[in-house]
Amino acid sequence: MSAPAIPANIPQPPAELQRQPLVANYRSFGWISDRVCGLAEGKAPFWWWVMFVPSVLLLGMLLFCLSYQISTGVGVWGNMHPVMWGWDIINFVWWIGIGHAGTLISAILFLFRQRWRTAVNRAAEAMTIFAVMCAGIYPAMHVGRVWYDWWLFPIPNANSIWPQFRSPLMWDVFAVSTYFTVSVLFWYMGLIPDLAVMRDRATTKLRQFLYGLFSLGWTGSNRHWSNYEKAYLLLAGLSTPLVLSVHSIVSLDFSVSQLPGWHTTIFPPYFVAGAIFSGFGMVLTLLIPLRSMFKLQDIITMRHIDIMCKVTLATGSIVGYAYAMEFFIAWYSGSPNERFHFMNRALGPYMWGWIPMISCNVILPQLFWIKWFRQNLVAVFIMSIIVNVGMWFERFVIIVIGLHRDFIPSNWGYYRPSIIDICTYIGTFGLFFTCFLLFIRFLPMIAISEVKGVTPQSDPHHPMGGAKHVEKEEEA
């Protein structure tokens, strides 16, 4: 790693422009290109292979489990009356929730002019896409006869019957498929200028051809940037209501039903907050090791980590409020079924699922109030994993505890996952990490042109951007 290239005398900007730069050590434009593109050039580092080989093996296990399930039937899972939604829907909601942080970072923070987002948005958007891919497996598989999955799309089946749009499950099909498509479009559009950077640096014919093809002939023309920036703003404006609607619609899968514990109006905002909470957990899990291994400390600074910890704390506390409010409403409603459900949630046979949910999502993230804790990378990394363990238990609590004691005690049961359930879930990590590792190997994992655009020298009115300021005092 080269020594920080701090210019000998940095001209001081006027007071209204003085801010802590987002890119540390006054790195130059060229340094940003070299550092980020360098990660996707040359030989893969050893640790990359150490991560990649097990990921591919886990992906193989996923394919085996899915083939076994398709050829045998959904009976290979632990789903059994009365718990007809088990790990399949838990993992679907868990993975799709993780995706939400990527869109929050890329779209909502863009609209709020949070310029720090540029350092993490590319990797977070990639995480979104791969997480939605993992999520998409479950609804496609849990129908049992996957060769009839096309019935979900607005195509008439053999009896000319159309899909039933009065069901929230159909809304979910549209929400998730739109979410995936728009996330890919947004991600790809952001990549176009950076693929052009890769194209102009490429040394082999193959790389020149492929990066050249996918950068679509981008030249960096300002007439193009003008349209590009407008389109980016519009896509951010479209993705914001999209991401809020996706997990709202996922929550409607539950809340439109009549079941105690599911039938609540608080679900949409509560699910969205939980999704962003878990997604930021995953962003931290991925970026803290990558930042050290790829020596990106000047781009993903401690300030970035600090802000992400604060977002995690805020959303975790919203989730905590929602948990408390569910209990309050159960008591306040006076409905014996509601009251029973929530007593059963906290003290019933699945108490072992409720306790980690409360401790991992509400109690432990409160440590993020302490600055020392937010600045300690090991502590933040461990907490980021705890967050996602907690969020997994949240979906377990909602789905399994919601179903396992039906209205009549003769309809009560105890759900256990099968070994295939467990292996399929572990296998989805193989899919996720295989995709993510390939992404960091072949594509710029930091939005190069955006990061260049937040440096002080990118501003034509900043002294480091070449602006010459007339001293007003001298004139007077």
Binding site: G30, M189, N222
Partner: protein
């Protein structure tokens, strides 16, 4: 046969290229452009560009998406093959709203991306500037002003002098190979 495409002038920082752009704009050139590694704020005004038209494509996409959703659901569930489910109405704008809302966003997003590509005339497999070695630095850390030879005000000597006076240290004529 090679014929001249345009004159390129290199700049090393954002402020100097912006001042150069203002000079070229005021000189009344039409077929010219500024090339930067990242979008420079204020450059649209320095070049005299109008607001981008991408929004119209997004708007049309969104309207098309919402209309498609509502009409599709009404036609499928309330007209073409009616099935009573739980005594609910055959068509209700409330239950049809979530999928239509998603389609609004989906078509709007397609409108934004493809509208942007259409307005920029991309994808483009060949561009004379991309053949130039020096110009490859535009994605790295350099800024360029390019004035095309078929601009009515273009003259090899005068235009070169204009760009030199604007502060460019490296000026080059780029040719287009047919």
């Amino acid at each position: 046969m090679a014929r001249p495409y345009g004159i390129i002038a290199e700049f090393t920082n954002a402020a100097s290229v912006m001042h150069a752009a203002e000079t070229v704009r005021d000189a009344g050139f039409r077929k010219w452009d500024v090339f930067t590694p990242f979008p420079v704020h204020g450059m649209d005004r320095a070049m005299g560009l109008k607001n981008s038209k991408v929004g119209w494509f997004t708007f049309l996409g969104g309207v098309a998406g919402y209309t498609t959703g509502m009409l599709m659901i009404w036609w499928m569930n309330a007209y073409d093959y009616r099935i009573v489910v739980g005594g609910k109405p055959m068509f209700s704008p409330y239950s049809a709203f979530p999928p239509s809302y998603e389609l609004t966003i989906l078509f709007g997003a397609f409108g934004s991306l493809f509208g942007m590509l259409f307005l920029n005339r991309l994808p483009r497999l060949h561009h004379p500037l991309l053949k130039n070695k020096r110009f490859a630095l535009v994605t790295h850390d350099r800024f360029f002003v390019v004035i095309e030879c078929n601009d009515p005000k273009y003259s090899e000597v005068e235009t070169r002098k204009l760009l030199e006076n604007a502060g460019s240290k490296h000026i080059e004529l780029v040719e287009d190979e047919d």
